[in-house]
Symmetry: C2
Subunit: 246 residues, 2 copies
């Protein structure tokens, strides 16, 4: 079937109540399925959403991007309004754009930015429950910043990849890492041309160990290409897909 339009959606969601982005078997609530079902109601046709990438169960997004092809002539502002009226309140479509027919949310992406947010305080916050990782230990942020720099550039990130889903190609390029302190929140922002499975959460886990002055050598980890045992992967609740660059 040939389509006349390719529509790009920029989506924000609180992933707490979803089993991740990707549509799974019947009865599993995912972000993709929820939006696809809503689009079907609006457009009276089945659509297939292509996202920049999956997000895991409980992971949030400030700027997930997904596109779909359609022959509907619905104006963009009407689609935006209809989507946000019908979607549950933990998913919001921020932008609707017509894009070139060859735009592909995943393959056209140049880089992605993820943020991991840590509540570094002695006491939890009820308002950050499922929105940040509560980590009450003292951290040497400057040490974390210095060591994080060693991750910059092109590396084989096999040592930072979840072993259950190892792909052959684990080479990625990290363009930026920033560690920001905002009150008792710590944000770790990572921009890369791509991410191997589990990469952000494994990097943050290692940086937290470094912040607690555990003797971990990032250069050696990268070289070893082996995910060490007793690894500390941080939970999904602090992770946000911030932006996809095209």
């Amino acid at each position: 079937m040939t389509f006349l339009r390719n529509i790009k959606l920029t989506i924000e969601y609180d992933g707490s109540c979803y089993r991740g982005w990707q549509t799974q078997r019947l009865g599993i609530k995912t972000v993709q399925k929820t939006i696809e079902d809503t689009l079907e109601k609006i457009l009276c046709e089945k659509v297939k959403l292509i996202a920049s990438g999956r997000t895991d169960s409980g992971v949030h997004a400030l700027g997930q991007v997904a596109n779909f092809k359609t022959n509907s002539s619905i104006p963009k502002y009407k689609l935006l309004y209809a989507l946000n009226s019908l979607l549950p309140k933990d998913i919001v479509v921020k932008k609707v754009e017509d894009v070139d027919m060859d735009f592909h949310s995943r393959f056209s992406a140049i880089s992605k930015i993820y943020r991991y947010t840590i509540l570094n305080s002695k006491i939890r916050s009820p308002f950050l429950n499922k929105r940040a990782f509560f980590y009450p230990y003292p951290l040497d942020i400057n040490l974390m910043r210095r060591e994080a720099k060693k991750l910059l550039g092109r590396h084989n990130f096999l040592a930072f990849q979840n072993s259950d889903k190892v792909k052959r190609d684990s080479i990625r390029r990290i363009k930026k890492i920033r560690i920001l302190k905002e009150g008792n929140l710590i944000h770790i922002d990572i921009e890369a041309d791509g991410f191997v499975y589990g990469m952000v959460r494994n990097i943050v886990g290692v940086l937290l160990q470094i912040g607690r002055k555990k003797p971990i050598n990032i250069e050696e980890l990268l070289k070893s290409k082996i995910k060490p045992s007793g690894y500390f992967k941080v939970p999904a609740e602090g992770l946000y897909l911030v932006k996809v660059n095209y």
Copy 2:
């Protein structure tokens, strides 16, 4: 029974999943009941929590205060730790203090500060769902600020009281009103020596109408002592009990 200790708790909670503060009939989940049950588990005795005031269903607190009397000799730090380990993650006890035996969370209070948070943007935020009132209309904040000043001081707030719970004494003194803009959030902070039922939400409703240039005269409203029909009371989700001053 005579008690040896009077313990003051400072409590933060996300009220989204609770039917307000006050213990109700069996099976209704309230903040008070949840904390009382947890205290009973820790202290092996029934306790009666006295709060600075009830909060309605869905209302949040950053600094609710409640006290209870006990003969337990549990150290404060242990009680704090045990409470936060056992309480659900949407309730956090921030502070445990021993106070004079005659301290009473409600009667000893000099003033209370409430905050009402409005998301004033064209698009919702999934992360502010149940945490702020989504109000997408343009508002004249400076006009709201000017008019809000007329509420300062001692007045009969009958016109700002929910009619279903009218008390004889509706005279209160508003000490401060501040309207802050923070990105697309608007916070309306009100400090008063006390609040009649529904007062903050009714005031905010009126201020929003004023912000939309509806011809409402606050001085006349106060004088009339009559809650006008077609009144606009904003929902609970934007309301936070910020602090109780003693």
